[in-house]
Symmetry: C2
Subunit: 117 residues, 2 copies
Amino acid sequence: MVNYSGRLDRTFAALVDPTRRAILARLEREDAASISALAQPFAIKLPAVMKHLDVLDDAGLITRSKIGRTVTVRLRPAPIREAMDWLRRYERFWSQSLDRLVAYAEREESETTKKRR
Amino acid sequence: MVNYSGRLDRTFAALVDPTRRAILARLEREDAASISALAQPFAIKLPAVMKHLDVLDDAGLITRSKIGRTVTVRLRPAPIREAMDWLRRYERFWSQSLDRLVAYAEREESETTKKRR
């Protein structure tokens, strides 16, 4: 069993490669796709695509189901959610700068209102 | 110059390692820390910590400033924000299940109200 930290290692490692990110992005739009359909837009050969799918599968980011000769690939978003939850703690850094901007705008506005009186 | 996809590659690669994630998590809490203070909780030697800091620096996730003999390390959250924005597109997968739950609860509530009348 892989623990929380180990799962994050795998998720981030799976997300490092642009081909794997493109596969995930496509599965986000299309819900399900066959392996040959997934491989089609890439210049790389099918075995290379299969290796990328293995990495995504090991990280729990996709599921593969076989009916007859066709393997259907689907997104499994749970690890992405976990990764986002880890990253979310840094959100305060940009929301703070946004807060400061809002406070500044409000102060400016109230100053303008005072001058008008 | 590194493009958007290249920046995501670097950010996710920097996040793969648990020691680097622990350093980022600490800088989130403490705002700034010296290299020796950052190295202190880890069982690894200082040169190994320095290598991790190089990876974080290359990914633009930290800044290092030297005053006298002390190097102060600070978090630079911009790449994290970019990574989160990339991951955010998958949010609909779990918000959809939440929406369904809310819709179900509201339906149940309105049914109960009707019965009462």
